[in-house]
């Protein structure tokens, strides 16, 4: 019997969500015994594709074949049964259990109904030795450094004897040496005939480890070929190469004095030595790959986390921001990235959400002024075009774009001088996106300073006056509007030389 060469063949995979097409007609072929890298910008559809492959999502259309047989996976358990294993970027491990218990979690070897601990430990030792990972099977997982936990996660996937293993950004928490050790493990697995899907935006690593490379852009496959002869510049070109149309009309605004200045700010974990300046009437873009430390920086500026070094100045005066209330008092507002978790109180209506940060201001002797509460909400609902225009409607019943507008309204109610927007248009439809851009344009025209965190290069280039690019927690460059090109930003963000 001959073994099939093709491990995975996905044909015409399309996935639509209400209002958005995440993937359109993606074809992907992966062979056994090869490492196949998938690269693309944030939001290009890599994760959606992998979620389809692991049974979390069902494709809207398209077929998946595993080892030549067409399969239909409706649950993650289906994918596991077919020998597909995922190694997630966020670790899915139990820190209070031992390494061996984690590796065999959910399928521990049993003897007369009782866990055969000795066998579990010896099997784990054998496995770790096979992978060349110097980890004690009996140590408690939470005591290990993140990099070793990552190896345990891989060992766990490997222990299930998968035919296809998917690694999502496996090196994001690893040092160079650890990355080399991981690569040695991957090569060993590859030699045993496992098909490996390797998702990364670290192009250098991709060039080093991958046998084949597929590039995704805007939910479509734009290139798929053997890695031999591919260059980082070539990949970047494929990742961003598209027609740049001016879908982001820019309202001209006069740029004035700096409102917010940050000098050498560090939080000790996610970013180091960041300096920046947000001026009146200016949109400062903050871009970089996910994990570059942008959101963490915003959280420090808004008082949700404490910095360990550096200064924050408002209108030239150093301020100490220990809580969001301090930030609001200093005229800083923050529209968070995760709208559902941090932006809205779902059980409240639009009005109650909008006036939440300014309740003290519209209260007399503790009592909220009903008329001010209502008129404020009504005017913001009208000004921002929130639809339906009913302030008494529960916010959870609005579309994503309208929820986002309500969150922006909430922060405008505090009359900020600096507005930080974290991925303000993620997950909203095209129409709402344009409206949000229009609103931001009007705000800067009125003299507000806006800091916009965005991973979408087209948006950054279309909207921002200046762009600070961050990589691995450091600011690598500040580009003026005239110097903004996708290739330039992507090269800075990934640390690769541009074409």
């Amino acid at each position: 019997m001959s073994t099939p060469i093709i491990a995975l063949r996905m044909r015409g995979i399309t996935k639509t969500f209400p209002g958005v097409t995440a993937l359109s007609g993606v074809n992907l072929t992966v062979e056994f015994g090869r490492i196949h890298a998938i690269v693309g910008e944030n939001g290009a559809g890599k994760s959606t594709l992998m979620k389809i492959l692991s049974g979390v999502y069902q494709p809207t259309s398209g077929t998946t074949e595993i080892a030549g047989n067409e399969v239909r996976m409706t649950r993650p358990a289906d994918a596991m049964r077919l020998g597909i294993r995922m190694v997630h970027q966020e670790l899915n491990l139990a820190p209070d259990l031992t390494v061996a218990e984690n590796v065999f979690l959910g399928r521990m070897p049993k003897r007369w109904g009782i866990v055969d601990r000795a066998r579990m430990v010896s099997d784990t030792r054998e496995l770790l030795a096979k992978l060349g990972a110097p980890i004690d099977a009996n140590s408690q997982l939470g005591d290990l450094p993140i990099s070793q936990q990552q190896l345990v996660e891989i060992a766990k996937a490997y222990a299930a004897e998968p035919r296809i293993i998917v690694l999502d950004e496996p090196t994001s928490s690893l040092s160079e040496g650890e990355t080399m050790a991981l690569f040695a493990i991957l090569r060993r697995m590859k030699a045993q005939g496992v098909a490996i899907l390797y998702i990364s935006h670290r192009l250098k690593e991709v060039l080093e480890i991958a046998d084949d490379v597929t590039v995704l852009r805007d939910g479509a496959m734009v290139d798929s070929r053997p890695a031999a002869g591919i260059t980082a510049a070539g990949m970047i070109r494929h990742m961003v190469g598209r027609e740049v149309t001016n879908v982001f009309p820019k309202t001209p605004a006069t740029i004035g004095a700096p409102v917010l200045q940050v000098e050498g700010l560090s939080d000790g974990r996610h970013f180091r030595n960041i300096s920046l300046e947000a001026r009146r009437g200016e949109i400062l873009g903050l871009t970089g790959l996910i994990g570059a430390g942008r959101t963490e920086l915003a959280r420090v500026l808004f008082g949700l986390e404490r910095p360990i070094g550096g200064r924050i100045l408002i209108n030239g005066k150093p301020v100490s921001i220990g809580s969001p209330a301090d930030a609001v008092r200093n005229g800083i507002a923050y529209v968070p990235e995760d709208r559902k978790a941090m932006g809205i109180v779902p059980a409240m209506n639009i009005r109650e959400n909008i006036t939440l940060p300014i309740l003290r201001r519209i209260s007399k002797a503790g009592r909220i002024s009903g008329s001010q509460d209502e008129s404020l909400a009504k005017s913001y609902v009208r000004d921002l075009g929130i639809s339906p225009p009913e302030p008494e409607r529960r916010i959870s019943l609005l579309s994503g774009g309208n929820q986002q507008k309500a969150v922006i309204a909430k922060w405008l109610s505090t009359k900020p001088s600096v507005l930080i927007l974290d991925e303000p248009t993620r997950g909203v439809d095209v129409g709402a996106k344009a409206e949000i851009h229009r609103i931001v344009g009007e705000l800067v025209a009125q003299g507000m300073a806006v800091i916009m965190i965005s991973s979408e290069l087209l948006e950054v280039i279309g909207v921002c006056d200046r762009v600070l690019v961050m990589r691995d927690g450091e600011s690598v460059a500040t580009l003026d509007r005239a110097d903004l090109t996708e290739e330039r930003i992507m090269a800075l963000a990934t640390g690769e030389a541009a074409a």
Binding site: G45, T48, D168, G219, G343, V345, M348, R367, R426
Partner: protein, 330 residues
């Protein structure tokens, strides 16, 4: 890792639109149940529809009702429950009587309530600032406080020394029992704070989504702690009134009141997951429970069987809340 869309199926499920039937179940169900109990009570017992019986129900309802007001804040703020109520009641009852000879009636009354509020503050700090699970924190604080109170009075019953105070709290103003009036004042004040004040809105927001509330400059720690302080004060007031009425107080005088209060709030349809609810709803829940108990007593239902019925009621109320929540209504 890229996250192109915020499509989380389990969240989408919550945003389903409301159906008319479910709305009736949330808004009117309890009123309907109360009417049923009234009809059944009137048919089954000739005593039920007398003004004497209703005054009895109202008076016994008042002592728990005061605690229900505080407990409503605890549930709405997402604080699960305050189990230190027996301790704060004992604190109020025993101190208001024991301190009478030393301080005089009114200072003793005030100090007793203030000390109960202090117990609430300790629980509140443990929950709000230290982040201890409210069940554990209030259970711990309650046990300690009860122990202190018990050892202070030597584990014996404390008797009142000023019969005039008993006459006052048992008296009537314009035909309405003083206890009922005090309860009404507390309930109305609690209702206004929860529904009209910024503190009430903060309480709702903190219970609804503490992460958003914190990111919206709401001082969530203080708000959480405040709910427990309020319940402590309510327990103290309730206990002091109980002590003055009975003119005697045992350390275990308040045992069981915490569950009666939680039952009322939950039956009133206030979600144990926080973020919604009102004082009137909790009081309607209390009214229903009290009337039901009264009808059962008048019909000679034995106490263990009463407990069985109330237990079923809590389970049903929580199940209904979960079911409605899943449909995105409650």
């Amino acid at each position: 890792m890229t996250r192109p869309l915020d499509s989380k199926p389990h969240l989408v499920k919550r945003f389903r639109r409301e159906t008319p039937l479910a709305l009736v179940a949330t808004r009117g169900g309890l009123i309907l149940a109360i009417i049923c109990v009234l009809i059944f009570g009137a048919l089954s017992s000739p005593m039920f529809l007398t003004s004497g019986n209703f005054l009895n129900v109202l008076t016994s309802m008042s002592i728990i009702g005061i605690i229900v007001v505080g407990m409503t804040f605890v549930l709405v703020v997402g604080g699960l429950a305050d189990l230190s109520v027996p301790a704060t009641i004992a604190c109020g009852a025993i101190l208001s009587l024991a301190l009478q000879p030393i301080l005089g009636a009114i200072p003793a009354f005030v100090l007793a309530i203030a000390l109960a509020g202090l117990c609430g503050l300790v629980s509140g700090v443990l929950v709000g600032y230290v982040g201890i699970n409210p069940i554990i924190a209030t259970l711990g604080v309650g046990t300690i406080v009860l122990g202190i109170v018990q050892s202070l009075v030597g584990g014996v019953i404390v008797y009142g020394t000023n019969p005039a105070t008993a006459d006052f709290v048992k008296g009537r103003i314009l035909g309405i029992p003083v206890l009922v009036l005090i309860f009404a004042v507390v309930a109305i004040a609690g209702h206004l704070v929860l529904s009209r004040s910024f503190w009430g809105r903060w309480t709702m927001a903190t219970g609804g989504n503490p992460v958003t509330a914190e990111a919206s400059a709401v001082p969530v720690r203080v708000v959480r702690a405040g709910a427990f302080v309020l319940t402590g004060l309510c327990g103290g007031l309730s206990g002091a009134l109980l002590g003055l009425t009975l003119q005697s107080a045992r350390p275990l005088v308040g045992v069981g009141y915490e569950f009666s209060a939680i039952t009322a709030v939950v039956v009133g349809g206030i979600s144990i997951s926080g973020g919604s609810g009102s004082v009137p709803r909790a009081i309607i829940g209390l009214l229903f429970v009290q009337l039901l108990t009264n009808v059962m007593v008048l019909n000679g239902v034995r106490t263990p069987d009463q407990g069985f019925v109330l237990g079923l009621l809590i389970a049903a109320a929580v199940a209904l809340d979960l079911a409605l929540r899943r449909r995105g209504i409650a």
